[in-house]
C-alpha cells in the first residue's frame, strides 16, 4: 500500500480553470503517490476531464500549481507532459481516424531508420506485440482506425498510453466501450502497472470498479472537490452518496 509516505509523484494544488464564466474546476487539490491508483468520480460535467487535462497539457490552468516529484512542473502543452512521462488516455481517445493502429500508437514518437525515415515495419511489429497482450483478438493492423469498433479503438488508445514507459498514467474512462473480457484485462494491467510503481489517475463512473482498483477516491461535484477517501474505509454506498449529495458522509466528516 502506497500513499501518505515520501514525496508524492504528482501534487495538483488549488487548480482552477473556467470557460467563459463557467468554473469547470474550482480550487481543486489532489495528489498521487508512486504505485498508487487514485479514482476520480463525479456526475457528468463535474470537471474530472478538465482537471486531468491541466495535468496532460491539453488545457492551461488559470490558477494553481502542479508539482512533480516535489518540484514545480512547467506543463504548457502535451509535449511538456510527455517529457515528464505523463501519458493520457483521453475520453475522446484522441485518435487520427485516417491512420492505422501502428501510426496512432507511435504518433509524435515515430521509430525511424538511420536515414531518418519512418521504420514502418518496426512500428507495426511493436504494435502487434503490445496488442497481443491487451486485446488478443485484434487483427486489423492495416485498416485505418475509423474501421475499428469502439472497443478496438479504445484498445489502441490504451496501448499508446502504456507503451512508452509512463511514470504517471491518466485514464479517462478507459473501459467505457470495452467488453467484459477486455475490461478484465485492463483491470489486470492496472494492477501490474501499479506494482511497477506507476501513479495512475483513473476516471470511472463504475463505483465498484473504483473500489476494486483504486487506493483512494476523489469525488468532484460542480467543479469542486467534495473529498478524498481511502476506499477501504468506505462502502460503495458512501461513495455514491458523496457523488450525489456532494458532501462527505457524516461518519467520515471528522
Amino acid at each position: 500500500m502506497a500513499g501518505g509516505r515520501g514525496t508524492p509523484l504528482v501534487e495538483m494544488k488549488d487548480i482552477s480553470i473556467s470557460f467563459g464564466g463557467i468554473k469547470a474546476v474550482d480550487h481543486v487539490s489532489v495528489d498521487l503517490y508512486p504505485g498508487e491508483v487514485v479514482g476520480l468520480l463525479g456526475h457528468n460535467g463535474a470537471g474530472k476531464s478538465t482537471l486531468i487535462k491541466c495535468l496532460s497539457g491539453a488545457y492551461q490552468r488559470d490558477a494553481g500549481e502542479i508539482l512533480i516529484d516535489g518540484r514545480p512542473a512547467a506543463i504548457s502543452n502535451p509535449r511538456d507532459a510527455r517529457r515528464y512521462n505523463i501519458e493520457t488516455i483521453y475520453q475522446t481517445l484522441a485518435l487520427a481516424d485516417n491512420l492505422d493502429a501502428a501510426s496512432n500508437l507511435f504518433l509524435g514518437r515515430e521509430l525511424t531508420t538511420p536515414l531518418g525515415l519512418m521504420d514502418e515495419a518496426a512500428m507495426e511489429a511493436e504494435t502487434r506485440r503490445i496488442m497481443a497482450r491487451l486485446n488478443p483478438n485484434f487483427r486489423k493492423f492495416a485498416a485505418p482506425v475509423s474501421a475499428l469498433s469502439g472497443g478496438q479503438r479504445q484498445s489502441v488508445a490504451i496501448a499508446r498510453a502504456v507503451y512508452f514507459n509512463a511514470r504517471i498514467l491518466i485514464m479517462d474512462e478507459p473501459t467505457a466501450a470495452l467488453g467484459p473480457q477486455e475490461t478484465q484485462m485492463v483491470a489486470e494491467l492496472i494492477g501490474e502497472l501499479k506494482r511497477q510503481g506507476l501513479g495512475i489517475f483513473l476516471i470511472d463512473h463504475d463505483v465498484h470498479q473504483v473500489k476494486a482498483l483504486c487506493d483512494r477516491a476523489a469525488v468532484m461535484k460542480n467543479g469542486r472537490l467534495v473529498g478524498i477517501v481511502r476506499v477501504e474505509e468506505v462502502t460503495t454506498d458512501d461513495i455514491l452518496a458523496m457523488i450525489i449529495a456532494g458532501k462527505k458522509p457524516a461518519h467520515l466528516a471528522a
Binding site: N77, P78, A94, N98, L107, E110, E120, R128, A132, A147
Partner: protein, 431 residues
C-alpha cells in the same frame, strides 16, 4: 504463435485483384484516362496519340502538376491555397528581374554567365518559401481561415508581380534557365534510356526490399507471381514512356541548324529523338520526393494525422501551427519551381502568367482523389488529375470544340469527378 497467425488468417482463395492488392481508385483513374485518350484518338483520326502530341501534353502538364503535389498537403491539412497562380507570377517576376536586371546590371554578370540561372532560381525559391510561410503563419498562428488569407493573397501577389515588372513582358530569359521549359531542354535518346533504366531498376529494387522487409517481420506479403506482374507493369510503363518521348523526332531543319552551329554538316538520313524533357524529369523527382515525404517521413505523417483529427494531433504533441507554416512554405517553394518551368517554356515572363492556375491545381488534386474534408490524398493521384485535365483541354482544342464549351466541360468534369469519388467512398466504407 504470432507467426502461424499471419499465414493462416488469410482466406483460402483470393481473387486475382485481391492478390495484386491494387489501389482500385488508382485503377479507376487510369481507366478513365485511357478511355479519354482512346476517344480523342478516335475522333482526331489518330492525331491525339502521336509521340509529338504526347510530348506536348506532358510538358504542358508539368507546371500545374508540380503545384498539385503541394496542394495535396494543403488540402489534406484541411486548408486551401487560392493564391498559387498569383504566387507563381510573383516568383516568376522576381526570377525574371533578377536574371535580366539585377545580376547583369547591378552585379555586372555578363549575359549568358553560368551563375545567372542558379542565382535567379535560388531567389525565386526563397521568395516562394517566404511568402508561402508568411501565409501559413497567418493561418496557423493568427487563426485566419486559409480561404481568406489566400484569397487576399491572390490579389496581393498578382499585383506585386505587376508592380515588380511594371506590367511588362520580361525576356528573353537566360538560355540555361530556358532549358527547364520543356522542348528547349531534353535529355536526348541514349540518356533518356539510361534514365528510364535507372528508374526501372530503382522501382524494382524498392519493391523487392519492401517485400523482404515485411518478410523479415513475418507480415503478410503478396504472392510472388503478383509481385512479378506488378514489376513487369511498372517496368513496361516507365520504358514505354521513354520510348514514346524518344520517338518524337527533332525536325530536320532544327538538326541542320545545330550541326551548322558546330561547324559540321547534317549527315544524310541522320535523325534524333527529343527524349525526356528536363522539366518532366524535374516533375518526376518532385513526385518521388513528395511521395517519400508523405509516406516515409514524420512530417508527412503529421500532415495526414493533423488532417484526420487536428485535436488528436495536437494532443500527441504535434505542433500543428508550425506544421501549417511548413506546409504553406512547401507550397510556396513548389509554386516557384512551377514558375521556373512556366516562364522557361514561354521563354519570357508575362504579366498574366499563372492566371487561373489556382483552379487548375485544386481541380487536379481533387480529381486525383484528395478529399476536401482533409486527411486523405495521394501525390500520384494529383499528378494523374493534372494529366487528365490537360488531356481534356488539349483534346477538345484539337477536336475543335469552342473555347467556352471547353471550360464548361472541364467544370462539369470536376464536379462529376467529386461525385464519383463520394460514391466510391460510400461503397468502400471509407469516410
Amino acid at each position: 504463435m504470432q507467426h502461424a497467425r499471419t499465414r493462416s488468417d488469410a482466406p483460402a482463395r483470393k481473387s486475382i485483384f485481391d492478390s495484386l492488392e491494387l489501389d482500385t481508385r488508382l485503377l479507376g483513374m487510369i481507366g478513365a484516362f485511357v478511355v479519354l485518350c482512346l476517344v480523342f484518338n478516335l475522333v482526331t483520326d489518330g492525331r491525339f496519340l502521336t509521340p509529338r502530341n504526347i510530348f506536348n501534353l506532358t510538358i504542358q502538364t508539368v507546371s500545374v502538376a508540380i503545384m498539385a503535389t503541394g496542394m495535396v498537403f494543403v488540402i489534406v491539412t484541411r486548408n486551401i491555397d487560392l493564391s498559387v497562380g498569383a504566387l507563381l507570377a510573383t516568383c516568376s517576376a522576381v526570377m525574371a528581374m533578377v536574371q535580366t536586371v539585377v545580376l547583369p546590371g547591378w552585379l555586372g554578370l555578363g549575359l549568358g554567365h553560368w551563375a545567372i540561372a542558379p542565382l535567379a532560381i535560388a531567389a525565386g525559391l526563397a521568395t516562394g518559401a517566404v511568402i508561402g510561410g508568411f501565409q501559413g503563419w497567418l493561418v496557423g498562428f493568427l487563426g485566419i481561415p486559409a480561404f481568406i488569407v489566400t484569397l487576399g493573397g491572390l490579389l496581393v501577389w498578382r499585383n506585386v508581380a505587376w508592380y515588380l515588372t511594371n506590367g511588362q513582358t520580361i525576356g528573353p530569359l537566360d538560355p540555361t534557365y530556358q532549358l527547364l521549359g520543356g522542348i528547349n531542354g531534353t535529355l536526348g535518346e541514349s540518356l533518356s534510356w539510361g534514365f528510364g533504366l535507372a528508374a526501372t531498376v530503382f522501382a524494382l529494387v524498392y519493391m523487392a526490399t519492401s517485400r523482404r522487409n515485411r518478410r523479415a517481420h513475418d507480415f503478410p506479403v503478396k504472392p510472388r507471381w503478383a509481385e512479378a506482374v506488378l514489376g513487369l507493369v511498372v517496368a513496361g510503363a516507365i520504358l514505354g514512356f521513354v520510348a514514346v518521348l524518344n520517338a518524337y523526332e527533332v525536325p530536320a531543319r532544327k538538326l541542320a541548324r545545330i550541326f551548322e552551329a558546330r561547324g559540321a554538316v547534317l549527315p544524310e538520313g541522320f535523325t534524333a529523338g527529343y527524349g525526356l524533357p528536363f522539366s518532366v524529369i524535374l516533375l518526376i523527382l518532385i513526385a518521388a520526393g513528395m511521395t517519400v515525404i508523405a509516406r516515409r517521413t514524420r512530417f508527412g505523417r503529421y500532415v495526414f494525422a493533423t488532417g484526420g483529427n487536428p485535436d488528436a494531433a495536437a494532443l500527441s504533441g504535434i505542433n500543428t501551427r508550425w506544421l501549417t507554416v511548413k506546409v504553406f512554405a512547401l507550397m510556396g517553394v513548389l509554386c516557384a519551381l512551377s514558375a521556373v518551368v512556366a516562364s522557361a517554356r514561354l521563354t519570357f515572363h508575362s504579366n498574366d502568367i499563372g492566371t487561373l492556375d489556382e483552379l487548375r491545381v485544386i481541380a487536379a488534386a481533387v480529381i486525383g482523389g484528395t478529399a476536401l474534408a482533409g486527411g486523405s490524398g495521394t501525390i500520384y493521384g494529383a499528378i494523374l488529375g493534372a494529366l487528365i485535365m490537360q488531356s481534356l483541354q488539349s483534346g477538345m482544342a484539337m477536336v475543335g470544340v469552342d473555347a467556352p464549351f471547353q471550360n464548361i466541360v472541364v467544370g462539369a468534369v470536376l464536379v462529376l469527378a467529386v461525385l464519383v469519388d463520394i460514391l466510391y467512398r460510400k461503397r468502400t466504407g471509407e469516410r
